[in-house]
Symmetry: C2
Subunit: 155 residues, 2 copies
């Protein structure tokens, strides 16, 4: 094992600093969802936020790096509470499109507003910095979605 003095002393690489920041933000965001008026669970909030337009469940699964059965469970819950409906995808009748109801849109707007608000307060970044951070975040996300399946040999 090579000398690991750097890590032991806590001098962290930029990559790890970035990751730590990402964790902090993620956890903070999750915490916020607990504080909002809500019968919504975290996965339900995530799905709602992702549904800016009708999407197939498989797309959501890929997007959330989750598994089909998890998506089913979350969609079931949201559907039962009236936030969305399932519609067959006319282009492939095996697939469902998840479509927000009016109530779903309203709640999504509220969540998005709260999350944006939180980001502003929690991050402490000014407008330019936020824009720059967003730019990089988009790039990262595109890259991740593009590469899809993890490099790992999958367990």
């Amino acid at each position: 094992m090579p000398d690991d003095i750097n890590t032991r002393l806590g001098r962290l690489s930029p990559e790890i600093q970035a990751i730590m920041g990402v964790y902090a933000l993620y956890w903070k965001l999750e915490e916020t969802f607990d504080c909002i008026e809500t019968d919504l669970s975290h996965p339900e909030c995530h799905m709602l936020i992702k549904l800016n337009e009708p999407k197939r469940m498989g797309v959501l699964a890929a997007d959330m790096l989750s598994v089909p059965s998890t998506i089913t469970a979350t969609a079931d819950a949201l559907e039962k509470q009236g936030y969305l409906i399932r519609e067959r995808d006319p282009e492939d009748r095996r697939a469902w499109l998840l479509v927000l109801t009016e109530q779903g849109h309203e709640t999504r707007n509220m969540l998005v507003a709260e999350a944006g608000d939180l980001f502003r307060r929690a991050s402490g970044l000014n407008t330019e910095e936020t824009a720059e951070f967003a730019r990089m975040a988009c790039k990262i996300r595109d890259n991740i979605l593009k590469t899809g399946i993890p490099e790992g040999l999958k367990k």
Copy 2:
């Protein structure tokens, strides 16, 4: 409710773009932990990574925005597997310091290396961009840890 054409059309604010990127990275990272040689669960990986130096459990709880009993469970698991030991904090004998063993350090180094590697591959950012992203991430994290308790009236 104000016109929400913007969100309906999917034109997302920088804040939401940032959040989406953060989610994507977080989830990708989690996925990576599944692919590594490991008897380690996700929370165990998180804790290990945070333990670049001995830390009190309460500090970890605050850091991971988690609850004491969760930290206890994770620390128990890591201790049983020989990754860390508990030592009384000499400054406050109610508190424990979690101290990595040699095995713990080795595994932590491996995890940190893997995570850094993943960040490089997944993000697609070049060195300067990574440095800039890391700078902002640090700023965000500092800000979050500083503000501590969420603004919300706590549920």
